[in-house]
Amino acid sequence: MKRIIISILLALFCSAANAQQPTVNGSFQLDAQAYFTDAAIGITDSALAGQRSGFNGFGNVLINWGDFRAGLRYEAYLPPMRGFDPRLEGNGFANVWLSYRTDFAEITAGNFYEQFGSGLLLRTYEEWSLGYDNSLNGLRLQLFPAKGITLKGVYGTQRFFWQGYQRNSRGLVRGLDAEFNLNELLPDRESAPWRLSLGISGLSKYQRDADPIYVLPENVGGLAGRITAGWGNFTLAAEYAQKVNDPSATNNFIYREGRSALASLSYATRGFGAVVQLKRVDNMGFKSDRSQLGNALDINFIPPINRIHAYSLTGKYPYATQANGEMGMQLQLNYKIPRGSLLGGKYGTSVALNFSQVNDIARTALNDTTAIGQDGTKGYHSKFFAVSDHVFFRDFNIEVDKRFSPKLKGLFQFMNLHYDIATLQGHAGEEAVEANIALADITYKLSNRKALRVEAQVLMTKQDMGDWAALMAEYTIAPKWFVSVGDQYNFGNPGKAMRKHYYTVSAGTTRGASRLALSAGRQAEGVVCIGGVCRQVPASSGVTVTFSTSF
């Protein structure tokens, strides 16, 4: 495949037919870490297991030439940094592709990223910070037959670290999607007070059945429909997806169909926004290899809908989607108290309120003799809105963002959290974490270009590792320099010997789109999650260098 694309590329560049001058853009990034032993936080020689360094890097080049575009992405994990999947170890061209676009169609050959609707049936994407990439390698055709209509067809195999596709080594993915934007499709409706768009998609996965015990479906099909409707300041968006039975390692080989739904209603006007969102997932794990567990070969993406936190302690216990079943809701209110009012002060004050809760779905046994979820059966019964009282996750948080003077502004946040660590991080038998977290992020402008920022956070809990406090100070000279010092202190750890400090010192410089950052110190054990994908980051002590540039 790569050879063919390269030959096409070559032919393209050698042909003088195209008079337009080609242009190129690209980017490079290197993340490198050196690890030291640090007996105080349990990092001994044997914990490091001989790994003293990690290098994750990539180079990406895109070429644009008239209606043609082509891309090459090289990656090297030699070896991957601690906390990344060890199967990433290796180097080579992870992505090679070529596409041709006209007003009527676009065709892409090679590696590509695609999403149907919100991704309940298909989403391929790449997330460098997680070492996650499930790109499709194949062909994609997009058609734009009329204004307001987009048709897509894709087929291919998914990236599985460095393992190339061989016959039956993993599944094939084929999909079709159609989207109709009625405001653009119907004459003279572009600025109508209502907005309506509809979409429908279908997907099938083929994987050979080589199972010695079960007769497994080799073709697993799925269908999804979606609608976005708006009137004035209101917008309703909903999507429903269903797939046929697909016994897999994820669902313990049950023959139950999968279903999921996602709906949101929002209201947005100047100074005020509100959104309420609902989600249901029932047996919706979907991978192009049914025997895979963990973070690889996902065909679909079930978004966690709780707030994504931006600070170290509010983000300490991140939620991860439970593909086998969950029912959740979230509510967010954003309000800007106008300038000049009593609470708004001279500059106005922003207030954000957010609540989310996710429960397990309620399941009942198929009959008296079959346990719920027993392999080789239809698994269980669950009515569409049946919710269990088992709470996976609850997050209530309020944030106030206020400027006090031209020089001083602050952001304050309070969060109350319930986190089922046994389910979400696999700490079997452990009590759910009940935590209260408070933080202040204060910025003081010393001059037009110089500023001092201080972050103070505290997390109080009786469970897991107990209480934490964090303090960070950062000095910046815009637009080029920053230096920061920070400490996270596990002052309430139930084990007295474990009450440790995790110091870090960082500095960096930014020149245009190039950035070099250096940091040294200790990293507390934690989890980084994006979507249903989480990466466990082990405790470490050492030096990190990051260099990135785009051109």
Binding site: R69, Y113, E184, S266, R449, A478, P479, T510, A513, R515
Partner: protein, 164 residues
Amino acid sequence: MKRLFGFILILLVSGLQAQQSLPSLNLKNLEGKTINTADIAKTGKPVILSFWAIWCKPCQKELDAFNEHYAEWQAETGVKIVAVSIDDSRSVSRVAPFARSKGWEFEVLLDPNGDFKRAMNVNMIPHTFLLDAQGKIVSQHTAYFEGAEFELYEKVKALAGKKK
């Protein structure tokens, strides 16, 4: 294989220029209207194109800083600001209520699967591009530190040919 890449490299070096204009991709704005990214720059005025997300605090600080000066900047130079949210389906439904509540006066586009982000080689956000009146990319910058908007605006003024 290696020789092929070497050959391509030589070809690239001999005939290529750095990217100058925006690629053509279809994105939606907050009203659900389809916007072709190649059209963003067709205003005859300088354009600031900024990639952000609602979970990125420095991005919001940068856009708030832009918004504070936007009316003044527009009056002086005609500059247009376009903010591209890379929020995916986890948070894309919160973008419109969030941006509206902030009172941002500029256009916000949605890039939920990162197609535009990848085409522009954006790896970390905030990542901000400055385009001239002909739609050519003249500079780009990552990260936001308090006060960086002033240097950017100096560049906008130079492009608009107005010296204060």
